[in-house]
Symmetry: C2
Subunit: 295 residues, 2 copies
DNA sequence: GTGAAAGCGCTAACAA
DNA sequence: TTGTTAGCGCTTTCAC
């Protein structure tokens, strides 16, 4: 028998999945593959594989797409679903619940029952950003928003504005991008060209902040941090590169990813019914985009 | 019957796969998720989905891992395999062939029978890099290598050295990195600290070139391009950002990705037996890391 | 203990 | 056209 196996036999995971009612497949739904999400995707894939699960990658071009994309996960009878950068509708959440399909949202949350989430405390992060930007000496302060519908963006802005107000400040202006470098660059041009030019900008993510820095320095000739303080969010690797040296709020991604996998596989393996929302604190990393003294 | 369907029925793709002997699953094997590969992954996922196939993501931490990882693709009876940034052993290639499992290598190639490949003409790219770096006025020239075992790295170096020699030049020094920013930064420190300091460096990829630029400018105070010309390879988005403005060889990724999908799905759907290797030309994009005049 | 049989949810081939 | 049946490759159960 051993010899027979060696002449080219491989167990069929599909047939096994059919009878075992467990495919060991986890759907990984992604909408952005930028320098923030790329390492996250890698880590999810690596950890799932370590635990004997395999990621079925589902790409969404836009948000509504989820309504079309998620059903494919159902068809393949995945054991669970991880969703990043997209918002679940209540219909979809209901379907998951009815199917007993565990779901974890990563980097966003909803209070709909049955939808687990792992996120960072964006309100606290927004507050820390306000402190950093005010400490840097800014007085006319702008917020550069991301997706208006996401809890992530909403919470960052809320914490930021809240804390500004505690210091007797408020937002001078506000613009919006789509989390890309290009959109940050373009927004900086709009924000910094107006009459009431801000001298501090808090960006909803690091990628947009990099675009703001490049536009300010190379196109508009604005000195950072003397004339403009910039704070990002996420703590991507590039924020630490000397060309940018961006002050940012680092999300504890490793812990968040570990936690996501743990919550998901717990739900898969024990089919427990409680809904878990885990929140991790961000860390302020001050660099020379707000600090005159440092590097 | 319609009504019955609406009360929660979803076709089971697993059962269908079992009987149809076709799962509509494509294995996507990845080793790096850096800013070069992230958009590639996204594009593969999007195109496969458009054609009714779904990517099963297999992550490899190192090269040898393929021997463990690929068999999982066999277990799930994927319809085909796309491999990026890893080298197939002849054993593995033989197994694929025996199983009638179509494989396409992306961004590398092998002459082993049955293994399709889509790549860019790295020898030609290396030659163009030599021209650009010599035109920029460099005389003492270094190559910063990537993975020594990959055809990609080998061909780039070969074309580069070949063309240097046609101009009566040769490599002054040579170092190696692992395609990351950090490894480029560290290699620049070694290369530029020695007595025979190069005044031109061709890097096997853009990410390493960005590290070289940051080290040269911020740690060593070297003027680019006056004292040092830098050329990268790949044409990642960041190479065009004004903080770097890196001369590079752009790979025509869209065409390469389209072609990969076409070659793979052709093989899947027609089970043709010919082996295809498609080669695309890179384009030189000259920016201020070699050109004194430009922006 | 070892061996045969039933069935997971589909599709394809065949009968009616 | 519509309905029934066999079987994909496995696991689990039940009989031996």
């Amino acid at each position: 028998l051993e010899a027979a196996d060696e002449l080219g036999y491989t167990p069929n995971a599909i047939a096994r999945g059919l009878v075992a009612q467990s495919t060991k497949l986890i759907a990984l739904l992604f909408r952005y593959f930028n320098p923030f999400y790329a390492p996250i995707l890698r880590e999810f894939a690596a950890l799932l594989q370590d635990q004997g699960y395999w990621p079925l990658l589902l790409e969404m071009s836009d948000d509504n797409d989820l309504e079309e994309t998620l059903p494919m996960a159902f068809r393949y009878r995945v054991d669970g679903i991880i969703i990043t950068s997209a918002n679940l509708t209540s219909t979809l959440a209901g379907t998951c619940r009815r199917l007993g399909m565990p779901v974890v949202l990563f980097n966003r949350y909803t209070l709909m029952g049955g939808v687990n989430a792992v996120r960072c405390d964006n309100v606290a992060g927004g507050r820390m950003a306000a402190d950093a930007i005010l400490d840097g000496g800014a007085e006319a302060i702008a917020y550069l928003a991301g997706d208006e519908h996401s809890s992530t963006n909403r919470d960052r802005e809320q914490g930021f504005v809240e804390r500004l107000e505690e210091h007797g400040c408020s937002l001078t202006c506000r613009d919006r991008g789509d989390y890309t470098y290009e959109s940050g660059y373009a927004a900086a041009r709009r924000l910094l060209a107006g009459d009431s030019r801000p001298d501090g900008i808090f960006c909803a993510c690091d990628m947009m902040a990099l675009g703001v820095l490049d536009c300010a320095r190379f196109e508009l000739g604005i000195q950072v941090p003397e004339e403009l303080r910039v704070v990002g969010f996420d703590g991507i690797q590039m924020a630490g590169w000397p060309s940018y040296s961006l002050t940012t709020l680092r999300q504890p991604l490793e812990e968040m990813i570990d936690s996501t996998i743990r919550v998901l596989l717990d739900a898969v393996e024990t089919s427990s019914s409680s809904t878990i929302i885990e929140t991790f604190p961000p860390t302020l990393i001050e660099r020379s985009s707000t600090l005159g003294a440092a590097g």
